[in-house]
């Protein structure tokens, strides 16, 4: 079965705002599609039917009485289950948070509601966002809507699959090393990691705080821009939130790429499968045909990104996840002493990949190894950032693949962590530097499965990155 076509979020919002459709009918349709199709996909961990319909009715009353229901009025949205929803389960795909109901709400969730969007459910994910296939969820894997024997990518695989399957037009995920862009590529949808600090992380359960960033999934570049506009901007609750004003993203989206200097980045093409690399070259031709000047560029430092990331992210995770101690929230496995209780709780509550990352990070930060591993990885992070900086003196954006291959088979990489980690090789550099990057669907591979191409830009240049993405979307092979 090929996924059902989804009406665009902006189209739905326009229909609800004009009174042509009720928010209730839009939300009921989304919930109906989930009920019908999600048994096979398992994109959602749970739906929030009652709250969603109540909010829809409230919004419909606002429309009838002439109020402004917001730019995303009535649009169903799915949330990755690491975004806090007050009083509603937020599990991070982990047994250790299986029954946790947060006492507060993530800033992005409040902003979605302010924009009129309606949260219809929480999506599956690799436990604590650690993984590239959504197979590390305590609650079982998600399947790729294009081929149920394949993974959807990860860690935001549930959000990507929910949009790809036509259950919702929009979803939010989080991207620490590619966890929005890689599943977007594997599921054939648009996924964007904004500049670090553009979207508040308040209420995002922390994995690696210097790398984590929330971002949109959508079926179109314009919808992704609209969603980012709705959730972005300064938040005093997040001290790393950027003070820079969120520039308009929708206005000017169709301004084209004439004169844009595009660097096709060898390090993001050469090591990918031949069918993926061919699509990147084809995408470069599309940009060139629309007036961009396209050149090949090599940024060799990017090759060290993977090693640096798999030291830095586990190091930060080992510290962040120390909070799961069985005391204040989540699972507790009782024992006689507090240390034995902490150990029994964490041993039972975390899955194998989370344990691997915690131990790797603990090792990299421990006495005698700190400088050789963590210190060295931070210096490599400087190298990667400076190399991007030099590339952006010559180019306005860089182009590459999002993932080295199309969606792989369930189980193919679960036994070999290093093979799984290599799925992130093209996405990790932008997390290290904090720069924006987007994955746009661009045709299929030899196996008929979606390929994503990636547009990367310098910090806070979301409008430019989105503009190039819009041209690629329009020129993508059908």
């Amino acid at each position: 079965m090929s996924p059902a076509p989804t009406p665009s979020a902006l189209g739905l919002a326009a229909a609800v705002r004009s009174g042509e459709r009720t928010a209730r009918s839009v939300v009921e349709q989304s919930l109906g599609r989930i009920a019908e199709g999600d048994g096979e996909v398992h994109a959602f961990l749970r739906t929030l039917e009652d709250a969603a319909l109540a909010q829809a009715d409230q919004l419909d009353r606002a429309v009838r009485t002439g109020g402004d229901p917001g730019p995303l009025a009535g649009v169903p949205v799915a949330l990755k289950d690491n975004l806090c929803t007050t009083g509603e389960l937020t599990t991070c795909g982990s047994r250790i948070l299986e029954g946790w109901r947060p006492p507060y709400e993530a800033t992005v969730v409040r902003r979605l509601r302010d924009a009129g969007a309606i949260v219809v459910g929480k999506t599956n994910m690799d436990e604590f966002a650690m993984g590239s296939s959504t197979e590390n969820s305590y609650f079982g894997p998600t399947r790729n809507p294009h081929d149920r024997t394949r993974v959807p990518g990860g860690s935001s695989g549930g959000s990507a699959a929910a949009v790809a399957a036509g259950f919702v037009p929009l979803a939010l995920g989080s991207d620490t090393g590619g966890s929005i862009r890689q599943p977007a590529a594997l599921c054939g949808v648009v996924g964007m990691k904004p500049t670090y600090g553009v979207v508040s992380r308040y209420g995002l359960v922390a994995f690696a705080s210097s790398l984590d960033q929330i971002g949109p999934f959508a079926t179109t570049v314009a919808d992704a821009a609209a969603l980012l506009e709705a959730i972005g901007g300064h938040d005093p609750h997040d001290t790393t939130s950027s003070e820079a004003l969120m520039p308009p993203l929708l206005a000017g989206l169709d301004a084209g790429v004439a004169g844009l200097r595009v660097g096709v980045c060898a390090e993001l093409v050469d090591d990918t499968a031949p069918d993926v690399a061919a699509r990147v070259r084809q995408a470069a031709e599309v940009l060139s045909a629309h007036g961009a000047s396209v050149e090949e560029v090599s940024v060799p430092e990017l090759r060290f990104g993977l090693s640096a990331y798999y030291i830095i992210a586990p190091a930060e995770a080992s510290s962040n996840l120390a909070r799961y101690d069985g005391v204040r929230y989540g699972l507790r496995v009782d024992a006689d002493t507090v240390t034995a209780m902490n150990t029994a709780t964490r041993t039972a509550g975390f899955g194998a990949e989370v344990k691997r990352r915690i131990m790797l990070g603990t090792y990299a930060l421990s006495a005698g190894y700190y400088d050789a591993y963590y210190g060295q990885a931070l210096r490599v992070r400087t190298l990667v950032s400076q190399a991007f900086g030099r590339a952006y003196e010559r180019f306005d954006v860089l182009l590459g693949a999002t993932a080295p291959t199309t969606a792989f088979a369930l189980g193919a990489k679960t036994g070999d962590p290093m093979a799984m980690y290599l799925s992130d090789v093209c996405t990790i550099p932008s997390n290290l530097s904090g720069h924006p990057a987007i994955s746009v669907p661009f045709g299929t591979g030899d196996d008929g499965l979606p390929v994503g191409v990636q547009v990367l830009g310098p910090a806070l240049q979301e409008p430019r990155v989105l503009r190039a993405a819009a041209v690629l979307e329009a020129g993508a092979p059908r």
Partner: protein
């Protein structure tokens, strides 16, 4: 080669409050060593004089005005706790009795 030993893994597991079976210890030693071996490409780089980058933003000590405002509701916070007594988190004993 990273030279990561089974004893090293047992040590970090203890530091991280994780109990491993003998089988897990064998498996994690191999898997963690393979990640550290991959990282030998950056271990070999001469980066003396390169400043470490802990964060993408150059910010320090972000302060807010010192004005009182409501914090999370105590009852709502305690409702999420595994065990509570007298408006506090309840834990098993943290010290053993003197011999």
């Amino acid at each position: 080669m990273s030279g990561l030993s089974r004893d090293d893994v047992a040590h970090v597991a203890r530091l991280a409050r994780l109990a491993l079976t003998e089988e897990e210890l064998d498996q994690f030693t191999v898997q963690l060593a393979s990640v550290l071996d991959h990282a030998s490409d950056i271990e070999a780089l001469d980066l003396l004089g390169v400043e470490p980058m802990a964060h993408p933003l150059e910010i320090a000590n972000v302060l807010r005005p010192d004005e009182p405002h409501p914090s999370l509701d105590r009852a709502a916070v305690l409702a999420a706790a595994p065990a509570v007594q007298d408006d506090r988190f309840r834990v098993p004993r943290i010290a053993s009795n003197p011999a």
